[in-house]
């Protein structure tokens, strides 16, 4: 590199560039937060959905499953599971775990009450209605 390219110049580019792009990021975030209500249908977030998310978190579901593609890749995507399987199947499935089939992946038994199961289903139903730009590519997730 040339001698005219000084450390001070490189430092200025670093500070200038970081501030510039962070401001741009904040501006885009501001726009996103303004736009989100049209995409996430937050008017449908009932108390049941809120409780359902809490159950989702406290059972560490994301440690095996993905939701909207984020999480572990050990078990199926659940962002669209409501559309794939429907609420009754989901509840019956959770209640019947673990399958105990030898050598197969096992899901723990979480001993959820009927009310908790309903909450979890309403959370998954609300999640399946988020506008995700048509992801996943098909119903299998």
């Amino acid at each position: 590199m040339s001698e005219t390219f000084t450390k001070a110049m490189a430092r200025n580019i670093f500070y200038g560039g970081a501030v510039f792009f962070f401001l741009l990021f904040i501006a885009l975030t501001f726009d996103t937060v303004q736009t989100l209500p049209k995409r996430d249908h937050r008017e449908n977030i009932t108390d049941s959905v809120v409780r359902g998310k809490h159950i989702w978190e406290t059972r560490d579901c994301v440690g095996c499953h993905t939701i909207l593609g984020e999480g572990a890749y050990f078990a199926p995507e659940l962002g669209n599971v409501y559309k794939r399987r429907g609420g009754d199947f989901i509840k019956a499935w959770i209640k019947s775990q673990p399958t105990g089939a030898p050598g197969r992946r096992q899901m723990p038994q979480f001993n959820l009450t009927d009310e908790q199961l309903d909450d979890l289903v309403s959370f998954l139903k609300w999640t399946s209605e988020i506008n995700t730009n048509n992801w996943p590519p098909n119903i299998e997730g």
């Binding site: 590199m1 110049m9 200038g16 726009d31 303004q34």
Partner: protein
């Protein structure tokens, strides 16, 4: 060596690359949605885009005169030319703000459609570069005014000038691409 500090050229090339990708992305996004782009383009204010082009080209010319002045060791004259260029930058920003204000009050946002996403992203991204360019020019002007440059030592002036010309160059492509060609 190109005029100015080599570091600014790394920066300039990075900027050209980023804008270049955005321009090409615009063109291919349009190819997928020609009707929408052509229809939305009708609502842009071509006059304000054109005036802004004239403004930026003129300010670039002023910067050229500033470089010429410092090469003759005329610090004050150099500072005055840069001040004029910054003034033109201010006019650009004002016109752009009017244009953007009109769009925002019409309820247009990044999510209106793909065309407006590109229109707003490209013009605002460029707008921020104009501001950054003005900041750099202001620093150069202040130093020139206090006699910090001379005919022998004027890399700083050329550095600021190169960045400003790049901002101009990008607008020269942006204007026809987004406002005119359909």
């Amino acid at each position: 060596m190109p005029p100015g500090d080599l570091a600014i050229w790394f920066f300039i090339f990075a900027e050209l690359l980023a804008f270049g990708i955005f321009f090409v992305a615009y063109a291919f996004a349009r190819a997928h949605n020609v009707e929408l782009f052509n229809e939305s383009q009708q609502h842009l204010n071509i006059a304000s885009g054109a005036i802004n082009t004239l403004v930026l080209i003129t300010s670039s010319y002023f910067v050229v005169r500033a470089v010429a002045a410092i090469k003759q060791n005329f610090s004050r004259e150099c500072a005055r030319w840069i001040a004029a260029a910054i003034g033109m930058g201010g006019i650009f920003l004002a016109i752009k703000l009017f244009e953007l204000y009109a769009k925002f009050s019409a309820g247009i946002s990044l999510s209106t459609n793909t065309f407006y996403m590109f229109y707003l992203s490209l013009t605002i991204f460029h707008f921020m570069h104009v501001i950054l360019g003005m900041v750099i020019l202001t620093a150069v002007m202040l130093k020139a005014r206090s006699g910090g440059y001379s005919a022998k030592l004027h890399t700083g002036v050329e550095t600021g000038a190169s960045y400003w010309h790049m901002v101009d160059m990008l607008w020269i492509i942006l204007f026809p691409l987004v406002y005119v060609i359909h």
